[in-house]
């Protein structure tokens, strides 16, 4: 049987046990390949558990630079007996099965159509170490050494990485190196025949950085000038708040006084976190919270208050599988409707849709500007796939020239000069009123903020006309938002096309890859990547200029499809739903198959007719 052969283009999957130390070893493996100039995109598939349950780490190696999930596994590193059968079954035919051969396994446990590479990791560790914990720990580095030898990854690259990792903890260096070499030597000795999968030095990474979206968004909040963060732990958003904390400790401490230029509160729940953000926003600080679906549900009442009382608020929703507690460690784009129309009564909210960590950084900072400018809640809709997996992306950039946009804030000087101030009054025709910060002026500009209806001068009013004026103004403000939010990215198909596709967020890498696959099937597609809601008119133009437009999203109920139809009044018949929602990241294969199937079926129908 001829084994799979590929250079810089295959999928390796690690099957481990939660809390066994594999995470850092696996990341080391991925980074080593990156350092050799070959793009990788790893993904964690982990349980809602702390220790003992199965966890996987899937590394896609792609010289072409495809960062989406590919599907299928070429090399399985099967370190978890609990999941052995399933892991072995998942392997592509002619693929490679790497395992700990310390104790013999019955023939039946294997497959004839895959190549088996056994390394007695446990035995080797027991020989090298006595402390059971070290034996356990270094088993991980050891298999990295073995894999490096098999795939042709330079050991010195790995050693450099280990060096960087344990800087200052030198006593950890030596044993790690040792484990690395034991693994490598064993392979060179017992599996001299090179395997078909190879890593070869290349130059396909460029200046891109390797970071997860939560880390990036946290840094974006630092650069965007957030000073108050109130949050409540919830997977997959917790690491965002924790990253904000550590960035602030590094970048936001007054050099002289050692005092903090930020305040972070782990609140008692999500109602309190959004409440604190509302209070801070009302009082003129840039504030944000981060959460996931269940938190959004709890924040509903306050979101409505912030919409109606016009308080700047930034909410970063790292989406996970819903509804309810749902699939806490799986990914989805299923909070779109819950956020776009959050809270009772007539409301509409601004959503930003980052595609990767780079945009998580950019849009988080942008959200803080938009919140101040529009005086309303701004949602950054990321998800677990972007947020908790390291992803290769363009380096972070910051234009020092650009100042923060604090929006329409009337100053003490303006008030003193006798400028008219009506908190709920549209003076510029854009629907956005002026506000004053508490404490601005001794006798002018104070007002009473409330969630009830009011007149343009913020006086309590139950009069219909006052209410309607205000609600219409809010609609106008929402219209103003269209041109302020990140504009969509349109790509014309290389081959002529009458169809289009609309996608957004974490679907990007899969979509980019799918274009090629579709062309192979003779299908050309113009694409539009949504980057925000409300949608600019260019989105409508894109749809109207095409016969059919596929709307690709990762939820069951075609929520983005609903938003498009609802906001534009477009005939839904022209928008075809492509839905993936089993909790795994969408793949190019899925998109290609779905769109191809649809178009072929349609073609058949027309021929029949």
């Amino acid at each position: 049987m001829k084994a799979l052969a590929a250079v810089n283009d295959f999928v390796v999957k690690f099957a481990n046990v939660n809390g066994s130390g594999s995470a850092s070893a696996n990341e080391l493996f991925a980074k080593a390949i990156l350092r050799m100039g070959v793009p990788v995109s790893p993904r964690n598939i982990f349980p809602s558990n702390i220790q003992g349950l199965p966890t996987w780490y899937e590394v896609r190696v792609s010289a072409a630079g495809w960062l989406g999930r590919r599907g299928g596994v070429d090399l399985m590193v099967a370190m978890n007996p609990q999941t052995w059968d399933g892991d072995v079954a998942e392997l592509e035919a002619r693929g490679y099965l790497f395992y700990d051969s310390s104790k013999p396994l019955p023939r039946s446990k294997f497959r004839d159509d895959v190549h088996v590479i056994g390394v007695p990791l446990t035995l080797l560790c027991n020989q090298a170490w006595t402390d059971p914990r070290q034996r356990q720990l270094f088993k991980n580095i050891m298999y990295v050494g073995a894999l490096a030898a098999l795939l042709g990854i330079d050991t010195d690259v790995i050693e450099t990485l280990i060096g960087e990792q344990y800087k200052g903890k030198e006593k950890l260096l030596e044993p790690n190196f040792r484990a690395l070499h034991i693994g490598g030597e064993y392979v060179r000795e017992h599996h001299p025949e090179a395997i078909g999968l190879r890593i070869e030095r290349a130059d396909n990474v460029g200046d891109r950085i390797f970071v997860d979206g939560n880390d990036a968004a946290a840094l974006g909040c630092v650069y965007g000038g957030a000073t108050v963060c109130a949050w409540y732990p919830i997977t997959p958003s917790s690491s965002l708040a924790e990253a904000f904390q550590s960035y602030c400790q590094k970048l936001r401490v007054d050099p002289e006084t050692k005092q903090n230029r930020y305040a972070i509160i782990q609140a008692e729940d999500e109602i309190a976190s959004i409440g604190m953000v509302v209070g801070a926003g009302w009082n003129g600080a840039r504030a944000f919270t981060t959460t996931s679906g269940p938190g959004i549900s709890l924040m509903n009442e306050f979101i409505g208050l912030a919409y109606f009382a016009e308080i700047p608020v930034t909410i970063i929703d790292v989406q996970r599988g819903g509804p309810s507690t749902g699939m806490p460690t799986r990914t989805q784009q299923s909070d779109l409707l819950a956020c776009a129309y959050a809270s009772h009564g007539d409301t509409k909210h601004v959503l930003l849709l980052p595609e990767d960590p780079h945009e998580c950084f950019e849009f988080s900072a942008k959200a803080l500007d938009l919140a101040d400018r529009l005086q309303t809640p701004i949602f950054v809709m990321t998800d677990l796939d972007i947020g908790m997996n390291q992803r290769l992306c363009a380096p972070f950039a910051w234009d020092e020239a650009q100042a923060y946009d604090r929006g329409k804030v009337m100053t003490a000087e303006e008030l003193e000069a006798g400028r008219d101030f009506g908190r709920s009054k549209d003076v510029d025709g854009d629907g956005i009123p002026y506000r004053t910060y508490p404490g601005t002026h001794p006798s002018k500009g104070a007002y009473f903020t409330r969630g009830t209806s009011r007149d343009p001068y913020a006086r309590y009013s139950e009069r219909g006309p006052d209410y309607v004026y205000n609600m219409q103004r809010l609609l106008k403000k929402f219209d103003t938002a269209k041109m302020l939010v990140p504009q969509p990215v349109i790509d014309q198909s290389a081959v002529p096309s009458r169809c289009g596709a609309i996608y957004f967020g974490s679907t990007s890498p899969a979509m980019h890859e799918a274009i090629g696959g579709l062309q192979a099937n003779g299908i050309g597609l113009d694409t539009l990547r949504l980057r925000a809601f409300p949608f600019p008119d260019s989105v409508r133009a894109f749809i109207e200029a095409r016969e059919q437009v596929f709307v690709i999203e990762q939820n069951r109920d075609a929520q983005m499809h609903s938003l498009l139809v609802n906001e534009f009044g477009i005939d839904p018949a022209r928008l075809i739903k492509v839905l993936h929602y089993d909790g795994t990241p969408i793949t190019a294969r899925f998109i290609v198959d779905a769109i191809t199937a649809h178009l072929r079926a349609a073609a058949r129908r027309t021929h029949a007719a």
Binding site: I264, G279, N283, S443
Partner: protein, 351 residues
């Protein structure tokens, strides 16, 4: 703020405080509460306290939840920014506001329903965080604005106007506040301004979480069996038409008793309240002693009023968080933004 307070020219007879303001300057819109409502007396006490403390009205922020009590911030300190938030969640909004600008004074006004029922969670956590604020609960044992249902502070067994008895054991916010680590805890009565004003002043000058429970009778929803004769008639009418059709305007209940004394207060609902004013000799610096005193007196059917506990050395949330002295909302991009160079270093580390 670099501004000098410029009080308008006032009627000569109106007394000015040190910064040249008269009581008028601390007033707000006309109250829309029922005539005789205890809450209005508390607003008056707040106005008096701020005037006596020479507070610049605009340097104070007033926040509240939802309810008759929570409406009152619109009726005092018209030159202060106010925020009528959502029901039961004022503490979190106040906490956030406080984080944004440590330079202002924060006054939270709430009701027993707003704080003890829906809001007890936020009440608990705001206090244990030591937010620097004056937190006043205008406690009438009922939901006034929604027409007289029980709140969590209503006595067990008491009857609502719908003739339903309250089955739950009442929450004592003062006892809770003491246990949660509030660094100033007091109880007052809306009709006892001489006692209430100093309590509010103590709270406003205290650094840390200061809590005052103010008993504040509701005139509208306590007019059932046992009411004083003059209302009997109205009551029967309301029963007959089985709605709160007529709400008689009444005089607020005023009390006057000396420290160490116990006074019996006849309430609108015919029940009597036994208030005990703390003895001058009482030392308010012992938390456990306060807890015990309250418990013992409660056993005697007495409600203790006065400054029950204070920790003069108390710290606050900003202290815990070691935040910079400049208000966070005043920091500019230069101080907040690490800049492009730092960013490229970060990029480098991510390769």
């Amino acid at each position: 703020m670099t501004y000098l307070a410029k009080p308008a020219l006032h009627h000569p007879t109106l007394a000015c405080n040190k910064i040249g303001f008269t009581r008028r300057d601390y007033e707000g819109r006309v109250s829309t509460l029922c005539a005789g409502c205890g809450h209005d007396s508390i607003s008056a006490a707040i106005i008096q306290a701020c005037w006596e403390l020479d507070i610049e009205p605009h340097r104070l922020a007033k926040l509240s939840g939802i309810g008759c009590s929570s409406k009152t911030p619109d009726y005092f300190l018209g030159q202060s920014h106010g925020f009528n938030t959502v029901h039961g969640r004022m503490p979190s909004v106040l906490t956030g506001a406080n984080l944004a600008n440590r330079g202002l004074l924060y006054l939270g006004v709430s009701g027993d329903g707003d704080s003890a029922s829906i809001g007890i969670g936020q009440f608990v956590h705001a206090i244990r965080r030591g937010v620097n604020m004056t937190y006043i609960v205008e406690n009438n044992g009922v939901y006034g604005l929604t027409k007289g249902q029980f709140s969590a502070t209503a006595d067990q067994g008491s009857m609502s106007k719908k003739g339903v008895a309250n089955a739950d054991s009442p929450l004592d916010l003062v006892g809770l506040a003491l246990q949660l680590g509030a660094t100033l805890v007091a109880r007052g009565f809306s009709g006892d301004k001489p006692q209430l004003v100093p309590l509010i002043k103590a709270a406003m000058t205290h650094r840390g979480a200061a809590f005052i429970d103010v008993i504040s009778p509701c005139v509208a929803f306590n007019n059932h069996a046992g009411s004083t004769k003059s209302y009997e008639y109205v009551r029967e009418h309301n029963d007959a038409v089985n709605r709160l059709d007529v709400i008689p305007t009444r005089a607020e209940i005023v009390v006057d008793y000396a420290p160490g004394e116990v006074i019996e207060v006849d309430q609108h609902d015919g029940t009597t309240l036994r208030l005990r004013k703390l003895d001058p000799a009482y030392d308010p610096r012992d938390r456990l002693a306060a807890v015990n005193l309250i418990a013992q007196r409660q056993a005697q059917g007495e409600v203790v009023t006065g400054l029950l506990y204070i920790d003069p050395e108390a710290g606050d949330l900003h202290g815990h968080l070691n935040t910079i002295d400049t208000p966070l909302n005043a920091l500019d991009a230069r101080t907040l933004n690490p800049g492009a160079e730092a960013l490229s270093r970060i990029n480098a580390r991510l390769r």
